[in-house]
């Protein structure tokens, strides 16, 4: 009977796993494209910074100095300046124009009469005032290609800008995108193409030649000013997600093998511990599925980012420490997850040791917030801490950290769009009260008890890519109770607030 159940569990596992892999593929490919996209954003931002610098230093320049500027700056074709009314100050139409100025004037002729779209006409005063942004890109079409322009609004009124050498920008981006080196194929079985509005390829890499009408498995939009262009990811049918470094199916298989082993170990363990009805067995199967996925995601990221770091080391780029930072975070995440799962499985054991030593609660809370700071920052969440518990008291530090960790991770996962996390502490006598709140969607009051049941995730938000086992809150409350305290959801105006009393 146990063997049959194991067999059945294994079969379900593989089936669900395959389904999951399919949907995860698209997510992973999109992630990979976004990584590339952010490299491109870096190049564009470098150029923007350079233009800002040039703008600042050329504020007082006259005609001949501006001409020299265009001649000696590779990224600039021609400079231009408008006064507060939007009228052209430089190039000066009354003076004889240089070659670059003439080319610029003829390519922009329409806009001098129609007005530039990035300046808006104030209906009341008949003068041009500028849109809310202080600077930006502008793209228009002339002759047989697109042209780029970068403008900055000047403090005293007026606008200063440059026509940008478009191909020089493209060339610089291409130089920083991946390419084969020697005989190493960087992306066998897949390829990435950068295409323009029409679908013509500007640059591509990877071993897979897409067929005539093959559609990409993922695509992202290029950053400004190239929004009309896209990055496309093509992969062979049935190809496992390849990475930008060396694709090695064996390593991925090993990773999966390891998680499979853990799965099997856990399955056996749970079956032996709980001989319940099929209902709870099914629940556990889905839990086991989720855990396997949970474990795989950080493993995938660790592998990906380590390989990216390897590549960066070879090319001398400076992103290595960022990449490794992600590896560290993912490793910690993995650790936390495993810790949670093991804690959950131990929960039935009575008399689990609880260490009570003297600690200052605020220090512990601060420490936890610091650990989570990078992750919170990258999720765009601002953390606010209001500490009023400076007196030492007897606590189990690990347990407190685990509870706080789970609560913060939940905010990260479910309430990131509130962009805020608030933690406050309070001491009354020998008691400690900690509030963890966010400004996300909030939790319906009716669900306030259900959320603490194991394996429950509120399905009001179908989060593709938000992983979770549904046991975080369960564990946290059990731990709190073990310390003689309580964890519950309290009423709040917006977002969710959890109260921990110890």
């Amino acid at each position: 009977m146990p063997l049959a159940l194991l067999g059945w569990l294994g079969g379900r596992l593989i089936h669900d796993e395959r389904e999951r892999v399919e949907s995860e593929r698209a997510v992973l490919y999109t992630d990979l494209l976004n990584t590339i996209r952010s490299d491109i954003v870096d190049v564009v931002q470098r150029w923007e910074i350079e233009f800002q610098r040039l703008t600042e230093s050329s504020v007082g320049f006259g005609t001949s100095a501006l001409r020299d500027l265009a001649r000696s700056t590779p990224s600039v074709e021609c400079a231009f300046r408008l006064d507060e009314t939007g009228a052209l100050v430089y190039p000066n139409l009354r003076e004889t124009a240089s070659r670059f100025e003439r080319s610029f004037l003829s390519a922009t002729a329409d806009y001098w009469t129609q007005g530039w779209p990035f300046l808006e006409r104030d209906k009341s005063s008949e003068s041009f005032y500028q849109a809310a942004e202080n600077s930006g890109w502008f793209v228009w079409y002339w002759s047989n290609g697109s042209r780029f322009l970068y403008w900055t609004r000047l403090g005293h009124g007026g606008t200063f800008g440059f026509e940008v050498n478009r191909v020089a920008l493209l060339a610089e981006i291409i130089a920083e995108l991946p390419a084969n080196t020697g005989d190493t194929e960087i992306l066998p079985g897949a390829s990435v193409a950068w295409v323009d509005e029409v679908g013509d390829v500007i640059y591509r890499w990877g071993g897979h030649q897409p067929a005539e009408f093959e559609s990409p498995v993922a695509e992202v939009e290029m950053p400004s000013p190239m929004e009309r262009w896209r990055l496309l990811y093509f992969a062979r049918e049935g190809e496992s997600p390849a990475f930008l470094g060396r694709a090695n199916g064996i390593r991925l298989g090993a990773g999966l093998g390891v998680s499979a082993l853990i799965l099997v170990a856990l399955a056996v363990y749970f079956y032996r511990e709980n001989s319940r009805a099929l209902e709870s067995a099914r629940r556990r199967v889905s839990f086991v599925n989720r855990v396997s996925h949970e474990l795989k995601t950080p493993l995938t990221n660790i592998q990906l980012y380590t390989e990216l770091a390897q590549r960066d080391l070879e090319s001398g780029s400076e992103n290595v420490s960022d990449r490794l930072g992600v590896v560290v975070e993912e490793t910690q995440r993995l650790g936390r997850l495993i810790h949670n799962v093991l804690t959950f499985s131990k929960a039935d054991q009575r008399g689990a040791p609880v260490a009570r030593l003297e600690w200052i609660p605020d220090q512990i809370v601060r420490g936890v917030l610091e650990t989570f700071q990078p992750a919170l920052e990258s999720a765009g969440i601002e953390a606010e801490f209001n500490g009023n518990a400076p007196a030492p008291m007897r606590l189990d530090r690990d347990i407190l950290e685990q509870i706080l960790g789970n609560l913060i991770v939940n905010v990260e996962k479910y309430a990131a769009d509130g962009r805020w996390l608030g933690v406050s502490t309070e001491q009354k006598g020998s008691g400690l009260r900690i509030l963890v709140s966010d400004r996300g969607e909030g939790i319906p009051w009716r669900q306030r008890r259900r959320i603490f049941k194991p394996f429950v995730r509120l399905s009001s938000r179908v989060d593709e890519g938000v992983s979770g086992t549904g046991i975080g809150l369960t564990i946290s409350r059990d731990l709190a109770r073990r310390l003689g305290g309580e964890l519950k959801l309290i009423r709040g105006s917006h977002g969710a607030t959890f109260e921990l009393r110890l």
């Binding site: 610089e172 084969n180 591509r204």
Partner: protein, 476 residues
Amino acid sequence: MIVAERTLSPLAEIEWLKMKTLEINKASWIWALGMGATLVGVNGGWSEQVRLDMSLAHPTLNASEKMTTYLKVGLTGFELESDRERPPVNVAIVLDKSGSMSGEKIVQARDATIQGLRRLGSRDIASVVAYDTNIDVTLPATKLTSMDDAISKVRAIESGGRTALFAGVSRGVGELRKFLDEDRVNRVVLLSDGKANVGPSSPAELGALGGSLTEEGISVSTIGLGLDYNEDLMVQLADRSDGNHYFVESASQLGEIFDREFGDTLSVVAQEVSVTIRLSPGARPVRGLGRDVDIAGQTVRGDISQIYSGQEQYLLLEIEVDPKALGEDRQIASAEVVYANMATNTEDRLSARVSARLSELDDEIEAAVNKDVLVASVMQIAVGSNERAIELRDKGMIEEAERLLLQNRDYLYDNYGALEDESLRRYGEANGASASNLRGGDWVRQRKLDSFRNNSIIKNQGGFLQNSDQKPVDKP
């Protein structure tokens, strides 16, 4: 400057003396410099400078009527004492390995590349990027400490695929940027046998890329192999970045061409040359001939990316002189040149002036003519006509193109009669040959040959492939 020895009226004699003094001053400056250079030549020649010459086609102008003449600003590179002196080189070789390069071509291309690499030294940096549909960074930018390793990587290049030329050049430039330094000669050498068909592929776009690269201090030399490449694209890229362009018909010539290109790269003595010419009142700039210049009012600006040892590069202006508006000193123009001296790693400045004599007598004006300047002007004007003929032929107007080419031939032959310079005769002959090759398959080859030749003449590289001695060494 050529000065006529005749008896003169007292006023003219004073003029003559003034100008002679200027001339002597200038000559003595050059002479002193020459002496100085010789004296310290033993020490390694630290006082080497580029030589600046300003001359008029008509040093004696008409005293009563407006006259059109030509002003040449010539820069000649000094000789490098020894190989030790030459500036280190940072070169990226970008090779086409698309399907069309299969067979003999890719073999020759690899061999030529290896030959080029062997000419470099331990202070030099090289990289090799091969492109077909994708990019392959065969040899990332590196100091050539292990030549064997570099060579074996080049040998491994295989052909097949389409032609991502723009990406190849971009990547080559990226490799170059890793060690970009104004104390090095930074060069991309691009070989292609076909039309770019992946990525930006128009001559204008590649030209714009070339234009921006030259401002970074990078020149791209382009080698077109066979009859299928796009010569407009290759010429624009080289022209705008002030590199060289070559038309190579057979792969077996690749070795020789790479040799020439590397030879040039290894003999650069001055970079980032910026010339500003200020014309005096009475001398109106009409247009630039040959190299592109920027005319704004009475100021003319031109840039030359590099000057080679022992070779002259020049800017040529057509000007109209009104003798009544000239100043007392009869100054026509002054020039200021700033450049990076690659032997001393300094920024050097040069300046010069040129004045004219005035005469009522046609014979005097005639006799004083500076043949070198006139020959250069005639050649550049003829190039302009040849380019127009290509445009006509592109539009399908074969007869008009033929007529223009034959006219050009006659123009060159006539001037050859008067000025007796070989290059005029040869170019006249070439125009005649072009005129008879305007039809069918002949035109495909002829267009490439003409594009290459025109570009070479504009860039003062002689223009005749067969004669590798054809490097202009203009006599002072």
